[in-house]
Symmetry: C2
């Protein structure tokens, strides 16, 4: 079983992509809504929450855990790998790999929460592989509340995006990493504002593809184990449940979803 956690509903874009790329694998999702968002909080707090979430998923039977949150991936991955004896997949490396594959000019933009951008993890990972490349980062703290509010087509959202992206536009990037699992829901607004020719890297799809290759490479026994047994149902846990959470979750999955409050 694939365990997936996020601070809230944003990580469901990752869960949804994993469901599409790996339809035979049951998912156990945990959205820590009661303490969301993570992106505005300190590294110490995000790490403590990530450890609790991972433990919960392991208790539920997860044999591999995906950190479906850029903020938690940025600051808690090393600690989780030290603490837990199962594979921990994060969303940064797959997005970086994808960005390195797509860029022609070597000028890459990254947008994310305060925690993600403060950690500087995208720049470090990109430059460790391509020291000559240039990385331009921008924190976009209001995008998460705008998505959670469901303002996906409002004029104010477009203006705020224009303000956030303005500086990056002048940097002549050819690739932009959507460094937060909420941002794919704003792709249709980001693309025309950053420029049609700029390649957008969606970390949810990159991570699902990465996970698929990971299983195919046989680094994991999970695939055989799971395909040998009868496919279990996927389950979705949340630490808090409100109407808006239910709505955004079903918007992402485009079907009714049973969210279980724990």
């Amino acid at each position: 079983m694939i365990g997936i956690f996020d601070s809230g509903v944003g990580g469901m874009t990752v869960a949804r992509a994993i469901e599409q790329f790996l339809p035979d694998h049951p998912i156990c999702y945990l959205g820590d809504i009661a303490r969301s968002p993570y992106g505005t909080k300190s590294s110490r707090t995000i790490s403590a929450y990530s450890i609790e979430n991972t433990q919960f998923l392991i208790n539920q039977g997860a044999e591999i855990v995906v950190i479906a949150c850029n903020s938690a991936s940025s600051v808690a991955t090393d600690q989780l790998r030290q603490k837990f004896n199962i594979p921990i997949i994060e969303v940064i490396s797959p997005a970086v790999q994808q960005a390195l594959k797509e860029t022609r000019s070597g000028r890459i933009g990254v947008i994310g929460t305060r925690a993600t951008i403060r950690s500087n993890v995208y720049e470090r990972q990109i430059l460790s592989k391509e020291p000559e490349f240039k990385v331009f980062s921008k924190t976009c703290p209001l995008l998460v509340p705008l998505v959670e509010e469901g303002w996906l087509n409002k004029r104010e959202t477009k203006m705020i995006l224009r303000r956030y992206l303005h500086g990056l536009k002048n940097k002549q990037i050819d690739t932009l990493v959507l460094g937060c699992t909420h941002y794919p829901l704003l792709k249709h607004l980001i693309q025309p504002r950053i420029g049609k020719k700029i390649k957008l890297i969606d970390s949810s799809i990159a991570t699902a593809q990465y996970l698929k290759r990971y299983f195919e490479k046989g680094k994991q026994l999970q695939t055989e184990k799971i395909s040998a047994t009868k496919k279990k149902e996927s389950t979705f846990f949340v630490t808090d449940l409100t109407q808006s959470v239910q709505q955004v979750a079903e918007k992402i999955f485009q079907r009714p979803l049973k969210l279980e409050r724990i």
Copy 2:
């Protein structure tokens, strides 16, 4: 000692007002930043957090606790009063009293978070005293992130406010309750958009005045006890600490502030 808690830094507007109206009383403040915001969460979760916060303040020596958060005041006051044997002051009744005093037309607007507006507490309290009055409520979920982002004068903030207030403007209210402790920081933008003649009710000031009258009425022995002993220092605890938290806190208090992480 006066204990004060909030989900984050918004409640510091209340702490600041209490400090100004009751300068002889030491304050013990708790900002639950690690789990903020509360306004988007369920009543059950907000109540559970409020109980923990109150217990913490009592352990620190608080003899009276102020719930400096409209969301928590709306949904957790009864439970706190049942559970704890000290006076629990909330921010709703003082704002309601003030609104009833100010209104001429009996048409009152209320803006707040999802949790506050969903609880319907303002309307219930106002109508229980003045059944003929009309109350018009509006949830404004993006105002908290905009304040915490420090966008206090940005064009986008003005546009979002205009959108939120538009419906209320047509209701011919003469009084508007700022039903969230973050909103006083946007007073200068709210006043021109709702209309110069509309009376704004700031729950932080209303609560501080209420508390002052409460002490003066001698319902509490605290006043004498405190004035008899040497004034202790006020302390400010937070469950998480980032640079933005420190900045907003000092903006509210207009002086350097020592925030202690717990």
